[in-house]
């Protein structure tokens, strides 16, 4: 029976890609290991190697096709003795072709075909209009990855003291391609590849900031920043205070935080609660593309150390970004992205994915949820949370991190302190489960919060 060749996943979070080029024609003989096609993602171009032998029977997806979903059949291979007449039978699933990772993603992560979130514009865009954008502003559609890159490029054009350092940020164009093109525009003086030495280069960055430069330090992921956390907290966050205001540190630590997909416990931790506990740090964890841009620009300009928590799952998501010369969003302001009167859902970063979908589900059942995107975790916009809870009387927090001493626990405490008399039910917390992140697909799904969890919690606090 003919063998199907499927669109391969080239990274843990890849959901779709472009079929750039076929290197074999229909009817050509194929040996195992032959490069048969080239696939482009927003991160890289990869070669697809055949894992089977035979003849290229039919090309199902022509070259130049964009946005081919992972696991879509792209061609069929005929085994010896089969002919084009057999093609109709080609329904058998084939082993997935191995992607030759000529430009591998960050680490040698397992190929993971299971996207965790749908690759479409966050529903936020269809909710409340952004009060920070003047009516009639032209919007451009960008991936979050591009929004981050543009934010850095704009700030580097604006201020010669801004530079970026980290692993693979320059010649490789970013492990997650967030720094794509920066080396070409700003040269190796300002886009600096470091050795794999998180503790050391975090300290070097802080030292440079103490002398007045404005470094952007990229961690390949925040999991690796644990090696550097002493410099972040003891040196960056505390020096202004310990020097009586004399010497501060304008620096941004940024990179993907939290769970990606199928990378297991050491690569899947959410540090929101860790950093948000530290006075002296500001902590930002945005969700929409526009917020990624406007808040990263604000973070780079801020005279304090800022932790900027991104999420690998969101990098490829697109959203509307206002086309403004200087789109800077104030740090410390939450945003109501959906209005409702029955229950308040509070989240940030990728947690918003669950919160917004849950709000859609709840609406079908007649529960109008108000959804708050915190955007900044420290300083936390308590006023916006409290005002909403005073209106709805019920609140659910949604985070991917662990529950104990989590950000949800802090939000619940603040609601209790400031709006206790307005509560009609105890605050509910939806969070990651209290276990290290498992690898197996089914267990990983169970460990993370789900839309159903949020819906159930919202109904529970609504006594429905």
């Amino acid at each position: 029976m003919p063998i199907q060749v499927l669109m391969p996943a080239l990274s843990p979070t890849m959901e779709k890609g472009n079929l750039a080029k076929w290197l074999k024609k229909e009817g050509e003989t194929i040996k195992s290991g032959d490069v048969i096609a080239e696939i482009e993602t927003d991160k890289a171009t990869m070669e697809v190697e055949a894992t089977d032998e035979g003849t290229l029977g039919k090309i199902l997806i022509p070259e130049g096709t964009a946005d081919v979903a992972v696991n879509t059949p792209i061609a069929t291979i005929l085994a010896d003795g089969e002919s084009a007449a057999d093609l109709g039978k080609a329904s058998a699933p084939a082993p997935q072709p191995k992607a030759a990772e000529s430009a591998p993603p960050a680490e040698a992560k397992a190929e993971a075909p299971q996207p965790k979130a749908e690759a479409k514009a966050p529903p936020a865009a269809v909710a409340e209009p952004d009060p920070e954008v003047p009516a009639g502003t032209e919007m451009i559609t960008q991936t979050i990855r591009e929004a981050l890159r543009d934010a850095m490029a704009e700030e580097m054009r604006r201020d010669p003291d801004v530079f970026i350092m980290g692993e693979e940020v320059a010649e490789y164009q970013g492990a997650y391609k967030v720094t794509q093109g920066l080396l070409q525009e700003f040269s190796a003086r300002r886009v600096i590849d470091t050795p794999i030495t998180e503790h050391g280069f975090a300290g070097v960055g802080v030292g440079a900031a103490m002398s007045g430069l404005k470094p952007i330090v990229e961690f390949m992921t925040f999991n690796f920043a644990m090696q550097a956390i002493d410099q972040i907290i003891n040196s960056a966050a505390k020096t202004l205070y310990m020097s009586g205001g004399q010497m501060g540190c304008s620096i941004v630590f940024r990179g993907p935080n939290g769970a990606a997909a199928r990378v297991a416990a050491q690569h899947s931790q959410d540090y929101s609660a860790w950093y948000s506990q530290i006075p002296g740090l500001k902590v930002i964890a945005p969700f929409s593309a526009a917020d990624h841009k406007g808040l990263l620009k604000a973070a780079i300009r801020d005279p304090n150390p800022v932790i900027f928590l991104e999420n690998e799952v969101l990098y490829g998501h697109t959203g509307e970004v206002p086309k403004l010369d200087d789109y800077v969003i104030p740090i410390g302001k939450a945003r109501i992205v959906r209005s409702g009167k029955d229950v308040t859902l509070i989240s940030w970063s990728n947690g918003m994915t669950y919160a917004l979908k849950a709000a859609d589900e709840l609406a079908k059942e007649g529960i109008e949820a108000e959804v708050i995107d915190l955007r900044t975790l420290r300083p936390m916009d308590t006023d916006t949370i409290v005002a909403s809870v005073k209106k709805t009387g019920r609140a659910v927090t949604v985070e991917e991190g662990w529950q104990q001493s989590g950000v949800g626990a802090e939000i619940a405490a603040r609601i209790m302190e400031h709006a206790f008399d307005y509560l009609d039910a105890p605050v509910a917390r939806v969070s990651g489960k209290d276990v290290p992140m498992p690898y197996a697909a089914n267990l990983e799904k169970l460990a993370l919060p789900s839309v159903a969890d949020v819906v159930a919690a919202a109904k529970a606090v609504s006594y429905r």
Binding site: G200, G203, G207, A208, M242, S243, G245, M247, P303, N304
Partner: protein, 341 residues
């Protein structure tokens, strides 16, 4: 200036002079070094007294015995060069020209202290004097000092950063991460390892596989030199060489200063890990201040002139102690300031 030797003079026995007789100082240099070292010695003695009286709290690490290191190095630097060190930092601050009143008032936790009383002994800074602290985490200042050098290179100036740390900090991982980047990027940083033989209570032979600290940069190709850190002239000469190397854009340089602390690691350390005789022998034979005083006397400088220096220094130190005890504590509102700017 000849390029320093890449391979280093190794004297495993530790504390002997590595480079023969250093170049002589002029009389003016001798007098200046004496004055600056005396100021540190008397200041630290006074701090020890105030600690005993309960006026200074927490940790207090005295620099007595090591004065020649920072004073000699400072003589090799120029205005604009940066200095950063760990927690045994009072001497560095005075050598950088910071005001004794401000340092002592910080030790007593008063509002006139360099950090408004919020930093204490281990955490003082002066942007004006290019002193970048004062850091309490062992080894952290090495990466930070490398970052200061990075900034100099980024800006294209010819300033040099001097990062001081001890034999104990020399075993921290980030020291070597920093060495690697400094040599890779040819950063103008001088790593001054103050080998006072004990990391708190652990002698170098019990903690270090390689006790020749000048070789600690060997695997990164960073040149190093062992220096008699009790002889201010030797320190200055080695400092000159290292500074020239850095300013010429050749990258980092390591100086192992062989020195000794007379007091315990901190005020609460009875120093039972070494003998009284060991301390006495070094005080008698190698004291950095007595060495200068004896040379000056041999050069027919009058006792009178030396006494005048002593009196001036005592006056500064006594005034700082008075100020530090008279100055009010920080206003309670200061609790909430300087968290963000």
């Amino acid at each position: 200036m000849a390029a320093p030797k890449k391979s280093v003079v190794a004297k495993e026995s530790g504390q002997e002079k590595a480079n023969g007789s250093p170049p002589e100082f002029t009389k003016a240099q001798e007098l200046a070094a004496l004055r600056d070292m005396l100021l540190i010695r008397r200041f630290e003695e006074k701090a020890g007294q105030l600690y005993g009286m309960g006026a200074i709290g927490g940790f207090c690490h005295l620099y007595i015995g090591q004065e020649a290191v920072v004073v000699g190095m400072q003589m090799a630097l120029k205005q604009g060069d940066q200095v950063i060190t760990g927690y045994r930092d009072h001497g560095h601050m005075l050598a950088c020209g910071m005001d004794a009143n401000g340092v002592m008032a910080e030790l007593t936790g008063r509002r006139g202290g360099y950090s408004k009383g919020k930093g204490g002994s281990m955490h003082m800074f002066s942007m004006e004097k290019n002193f970048y602290g004062g850091h309490g985490i062992v080894g952290a200042q090495v990466s930070l000092g490398t970052g200061l050098a990075f900034a100099n290179r980024y800006r294209g100036n010819d300033f040099v950063s001097v990062a001081y740390f001890g034999d104990g900090a020399s075993n921290q991982g980030q020291v070597y991460e920093s060495f690697n980047m400094a040599e890779l990027w040819k950063l103008p940083v001088i790593y001054v390892i103050e080998n006072n033989r004990y990391a708190m209570g652990t002698s170098v032979t019990r903690s270090s596989a390689l006790t020749d600290f000048s070789k600690r940069g060997a695997s990164f190709n960073i040149p190093g030199q062992q220096v008699d850190g009790m002889d201010v002239r030797a320190v200055k000469a080695a400092g000159d060489e290292a500074v020239a190397w850095c300013r010429a854009g050749k990258g980092p340089f390591i100086l192992e200063m062989q020195t000794y602390r007379y007091r315990g690691h901190s005020m609460s350390d009875p120093a039972k890990y070494r003998t009284r005789e060991e301390v006495e022998k070094i005080r008698t034979d190698q004291d950095p201040i007595e060495q200068v005083r004896n040379r000056l006397l041999a050069a027919k400088v009058s006792e009178q002139e030396l006494k005048a220096i002593d009196a001036e220094v005592r006056q500064i130190v006594n005034a700082s102690a008075d100020f530090a005890q008279r100055d009010p504590e920080p206003d309670p509102s200061e609790l909430w300031t300087d968290v963000y700017r």
